[in-house]
């Protein structure tokens, strides 16, 4: 068994280096309790629904969500809106469809099977409307940023007046968590900006947490299944390993050498 400690030590060493390398240029991000962290982590349904509301009312005017469909809002492990609610959400958007029998494109209300409607026709239009900066698609955004959810959560609350000596161009803002501190998105959240239907107080902190939770789900829609399956898989493997260990001991006991 001594060898196993050596093996595990080596593994730890390898990945220790890896973690280290990822942690380069680390800023202390704001911390909060994420319900989805840890091996048993699950999404907070209410937070996902509130987060969707923040995304819809605040972010979606600039940020697309192109890999998400309205049907996803109903699916298990997500915000789990009722089918009626999701249909109503989808129907509130106009979707371009066609060509019809006359060869023309037409607008119709959205359906569950539609992808989330994009705020701009294309990337150029998005840039033109935002001073040259392209608001990134938000579907996998938390996985596309080194700090993940903590980074997004902090960034949303990281707006400050620039320190003395830092001059900002027009349309550029100071954010202490942004890489290089300069960001082209202005501060979006302010207390009471949205009115939560469940009566939760819409503080900046609350909205930042809710929308980040929502973004975690859009990036990892199968997170809950993954956690559940992982627990079962690892328990199964451990039981099997113990059984095989004793079988091995028994088989090797036929000869004198220790395993």
């Amino acid at each position: 068994m001594k060898n196993f400690f050596r093996i595990s030590f080596l593994i730890a060493l390898f990945f220790g280096f890896q973690f280290n390398s990822n942690a380069a240029e680390k800023v202390e991000y704001l911390k909060t309790d994420w319900s989805f962290k840890g091996p048993f982590g699950k999404f907070d349904r209410a937070a996902l629904q509130r987060g969707y509301q923040v995304y819809q009312e605040v972010c979606s005017s600039c940020h697309s969500m192109k890999y998400l469909s309205y049907r996803n809002l109903v699916e298990e492990g997500g915000p789990e809106f009722s089918v009626e609610q999701a249909k109503a959400i989808a129907a509130s958007f106009e979707v371009k469809d066609g060509p019809n029998a006359d060869g023309e494109m037409f607008m119709r209300p959205g359906r569950l099977s539609d992808k989330f409607v994009m705020p701009y026709e294309n990337e150029k239009a998005a840039q033109a409307a935002n001073g040259g900066a392209y608001p990134p698609d938000m579907t996998v955004l938390v996985k596309a940023r080194g700090g993940g959810v903590d980074y997004i959560y902090s960034l949303l609350q990281g707006y400050e007046d620039p320190p003395a000596g830092v001059t900002l161009d027009d349309g550029v803002y100071y954010n202490k968590y942004m890489y290089g501190n300069k960001i082209k998105m202005s501060n979006q959240l302010s207390d009471g900006l949205v009115e939560y239907s469940d009566g939760t107080n819409a503080s900046v902190e609350q909205m930042a947490k809710d929308v980040t939770t929502f973004l975690m789900w859009t990036a990892e829609p199968h997170l809950e299944t993954r956690h559940k399956m992982g627990f079962k898989a690892i328990v199964y493997l451990i039981i099997l390993t113990v059984l095989v260990y004793f079988s091995m001991k028994r088989i090797w006991s036929r000869i004198e050498t220790k395993v």
Binding site: N3, F15, A144, T241, I251
Partner: protein, 421 residues
């Protein structure tokens, strides 16, 4: 395998075996005499076979859903992650499987280095292993390009650009590799084709690797030649099968932990940003398992020499059986080599670390020293050590290690046993 006289018991079995001796092969594999003192470092061969098969099977499923097109690759990966049934599981197994594969192969290689498994008569096994390792790196690099994220695109750009260092024809070769004047759709489609091909080449080489192993038989922790079969050996089945199985399960627990709980920790966040030829990431870094070589590449100021240094760092391993002049295989009986071995391990880990850091200031200095030491180890320390080192007495057999014997005696004995084979 000709030493085996095996006759199947059933008539049908005998009829078939006379025409295609598969049953003889199966019998050889189950009875294969294995040193009984193999420790757990020897279980990684089996683990690597498992890794290869896992990568091939999950890769086949992914290829059914993946679209190798610059405009659709990223989106098709998201489709796999979201809409394909258990697509996320298959993809995370495949992506983390690559890391697990390299973790296992590094342990396997460093086990060989410690116990001198590359030495006569196992040079061919070792060289085939180095070719497999090279192909693994190629497959991993090509595979990393396929999701068409930022790191895919820029990693592909950096690595293919290395060929431009070749004098005169370099630029032409790069254009030829790209299928155009930049990394673009033709690059992606050919990378996909090659990524699909290489695992099967590896599979073929693995068969040769194992075949070559079964000629002299396994090395063992005390590194002496053993008589086969004898009381020093056990049949492969059930003894080694169950032990390999146990170790594999332990490995799978670690594997499962990564897949289910931290599936993205070994990847780079930038690869979840779709490839954009107009935006260069702040730091372009390869996957962790290539970092030591990346550090060597960057530690040389000249591009061509850097590429040569990087390639030499890998190819020098193929010459190892001749660079290591010591007659004694196992580091257990080589007190000095043992120390240099651990220094080399530390050196490679340091190279990996600085490979992930920006190539400037102190990091660059450390990278240069570590690179120089890497070559010093293989080109100077190992050859000299074989002549200078005073080894400790080597036992004559596994079962009677106490009787001992002088290293010289063991060497004489070794020479004799080669003639028998």
């Amino acid at each position: 395998m000709s030493e085996h006289e095996y006759t199947p018991k059933s008539k049908v079995g005998k009829w078939f075996n006379d025409r295609l001796p598969l049953l003889t092969l199966a019998n050889h594999l189950t009875d294969y005499p294995t040193p009984k003192n193999l420790n757990y470092w020897w279980t990684f061969g089996g683990i690597l076979t498992f890794c290869l098969i896992t990568q091939i099977v999950t890769g086949l499923v992914l290829a059914m859903h993946y679209i190798a097109h610059a405009d659709m690759a990223f989106q098709s990966v998201e489709h796999i992650m979201r809409d394909v049934n258990y697509g996320w599981l298959i993809r995370y197994i495949h992506a983390n499987g690559a890391s697990m594969f390299f973790l296992a192969v590094y342990i396997h290689i460093f086990r060989s280095l410690f116990y001198g498994s590359y030495k006569s008569p196992r040079e061919v096994i070792w060289i085939i292993g180095i070719i497999i390792y090279l192909l693994m790196m190629a497959a991993a690099f090509l595979g990393y390009v396929l999701p068409w994220g930022q790191m895919s695109f820029w990693g592909a750009t950096v690595i293919t650009n290395l060929f431009s260092a070749i004098p005169l024809v370099g630029e032409g070769i790069v254009t030829w590799l790209w299928g155009g004047y930049s990394v673009d759709n033709p690059t992606l489609t050919r990378f996909f084709t090659l990524h699909y091909l290489i695992p099967f080449l590896i599979l073929g080489l693995v068969v040769l690797h194992i075949w070559a192993l079964h000629v002299p038989g396994n090395n063992n922790p005390i590194g002496i030649d053993i008589k086969k079969p004898s009381k020093d050996t056990v049949p492969f089945h059930p003894y080694i099968v169950i032990k390999d199985g146990f170790a594999l399960l332990m490995f799978m627990i670690v594997f499962a932990f990564f897949v289910f709980y931290t599936p993205n920790i070994l990847g780079h966040a930038d690869n979840y940003i779709e490839a954009n030829p107009l935006v260069t990431p702040a730091h372009i870094v390869p996957e962790w398992y290539l970092l030591p070589f990346y550090a060597i590449l960057r530690s040389v100021p000249d591009k061509l020499l850097g590429v040569i240094a990087m390639l030499s760092a890998i190819l020098i391993l193929a010459a190892l059986p001749w660079l290591d002049t010591s007659k004694i295989r196992s580091a257990v009986f080589r007190p000095l080599y043992k120390q240099f071995y651990w220094i080399l391990v530390a050196d490679v880990l340091i190279l990996g670390y600085v490979g992930a850091m920006p190539a400037e200031g102190l990091y660059l200095l450390i990278a240069r020293i570590a690179t120089a030491y890497y070559f010093l180890h293989f080109l100077v320390i190992l050859p000299v050590l074989g002549f200078k080192e005073r080894t400790t007495p080597v036992p004559l057999s596994i079962t009677e290690p106490i009787l001992g014997g002088s290293p010289n005696l063991a060497a004489v004995k070794k020479k004799d046993s080669f003639k028998d084979q």
